[in-house]
């Protein structure tokens, strides 16, 4: 097996091209793959179909790519807090598909798990159900299909050369699902550790789901809405 370890973002993201579908982990700005996003911004590839819960927020994350008009389609659950996306959506520059967040997660999981479709009550009786097959179980449900991608870029706190990953606190969110669902999953880590340093019981993503991994640098780890206890 050739090594999965790459020197940096430039080396790991060598084969991206115009028109790819691209999953990006993170909830708001929490757990986003900062280095890979900056490398894609530098490359300037266009017509990206971005699949991410927020497509960036507050001008950061994938919003860097929105500002450069690199994203032409977006699949996400939430636009609020992302003025770049809202503006380009209303101007018709980005084709936005809104998906209920639980359905979004499960469609990505389904793509990674080999599930060809599933029925869920979420969205029944709303605009989301339009054009979808309906079926009544104990409650009325709609058919949802898997959501895969060409590439996934994700960030983990720790990872080893096989691609075993460990996430910190709520930074995990969509990343393990996207790791399973993309044809090529590229991981950046705060710490690249030796095999065995992440105890087998504590592996959040087994390495088989990861194709490339590199040590990230210069993390901003921005806090979007800081709230503190009164002291």
């Amino acid at each position: 097996m050739t090594s999965k370890v790459y020197a940096n973002a430039v080396a790991a993201l060598f084969d991206l091209r115009d028109g790819i579908s691209l999953m990006s982990g993170g909830f708001g700005l929490c757990g986003i793959p900062e280095n890979s996003i900056q490398e894609i911004r530098r490359q300037g590839i266009k017509n990206i179909h971005a699949i991410s819960n927020n497509i960036g927020n507050s001008g950061r994350g994938l919003a860097w790519l929105l500002k450069q008009k690199q994203i032409s389609a977006a699949t996400c659950s939430y636009v609020g807090g992302n003025p770049d996306l809202e503006e380009q959506m209303l101007a018709g520059e980005v084709q936005v598909t809104l998906v209920p967040q639980g359905t979004f997660s499960e469609r990505i999981r389904a793509a990674g798990m080999g599930i060809r479709g599933f029925y869920t009550p979420a969205g029944y009786g709303t605009l989301v159900a339009e054009g979808k097959e309906e079926r009544v179980f104990d409650v009325p449900c709609i058919l949802e299909l898997p959501l895969g991608a060409d590439f996934a870029i994700i960030k983990a706190e720790r990872g080893d050369r096989f691609g075993n990953l460990w996430f910190k606190e709520t930074a995990r969110n969509f990343s393990p699902l996207m790791a399973m669902a993309a044809r090529v999953t590229i991981v950046e880590v705060e710490q690249l550790v030796e095999l065995g340093e992440i105890e087998p019981e504590n592996v959040h993503v087994p390495g088989v789901f990861v194709q490339r991994i590199y040590q990230g640098v210069d993390y901003e780890n921005a806090i979007e809405i800081p709230m503190y206890a009164e002291q």
């Binding site: 009550p121 606190e169 393990p176 709230m227």
Partner: protein, 228 residues
């Protein structure tokens, strides 16, 4: 029209919801007013707060020393967690919801109707925030509570016979807590469970026939009128 009414404050609304929670309950909190609930739960009441970005056991706010950029709630605000908390991915998080493992979910809303339908994710031609997790949440938790101000800034009632905005979920809401009182959607009308002190049902902004008054604070006879 709500300017001179003795409305409940946000804190009073929150305390009404807290009073409905059983010791040991699991609870999902939506963005907006509901997030205030985490700070108003008394220490002797054990509540397991779930946030759909992947945490069960949300506690109060962190200090400047303990704050972590990777520890946030679904509103992207920094949080802390209690002893016994757990973290998980988004599919597991929504499995907890959709699978019926969470007892209570409290969401904000733009409109809610007598049928129990909720609208809270877009105003056609004006504003699209997206549904986030709301469409999944309303179909999973055992009890769905909607918190919203009773009137819009223009004075329109947000409790309607039928929602006019695109729905988040159809026939899903169990209780509505506004700054005027607590209401139960009954199909063609709302049952009044409780009114803020000084509020009367003719101030609720809809024809009398919209309200089924089942509980008079003065103990007088209940009446019903459920026709549209």
């Amino acid at each position: 029209m709500s300017d001179n009414l003795p409305l409940w404050s946000k804190t009073e609304m929150v305390d009404e919801v807290v009073a409905m929670l059983d010791h040991g309950a699991s609870l999902n909190l939506g963005i907006g007013i509901p997030t205030l609930i985490a700070e108003r739960i008394p220490p002797d009441k054990e509540i397991w707060i779930h946030s759909e970005n992947g945490v069960l056991g949300v506690s109060g706010r962190p200090t400047r020393e303990t704050v972590s950029p990777t520890l946030i709630n679904a509103g992207k605000e920094t949080i802390s967690v209690r002893k016994g908390a757990s973290y998980f991915d988004s599919a597991t998080s929504f499995g907890m919801i959709r699978g019926g493992h969470i007892d209570v979910c409290v969401l904000g809303g733009m409109q809610v109707d007598a049928e129990g339908s909720l609208a809270n994710w877009m105003i056609p031609g004006k504003k699209v925030t997206g549904m986030g997790g709301a469409m999944d949440l309303v179909h999973g938790a055992k009890m769905i509570i909607v918190m919203l101000t009773h009137f819009s800034k223009d004075g329109d009632a947000k409790l309607l016979h039928r929602c006019t905005l695109p729905l988040t979920g159809k026939r899903v809401v169990h209780k509505v807590v506004t700054d005027c009182g607590i209401f139960t959607p009954m199909g063609d009308s709302f049952r009044i469970e409780k009114l803020a002190p000084g509020i009367t049902y003719d101030q609720l902004g809809l024809p009398l026939k919209m309200w089924t008054r089942s509980l008079f604070q003065d103990g007088s006879e209940p009446w019903e009128n459920t026709t549209d």
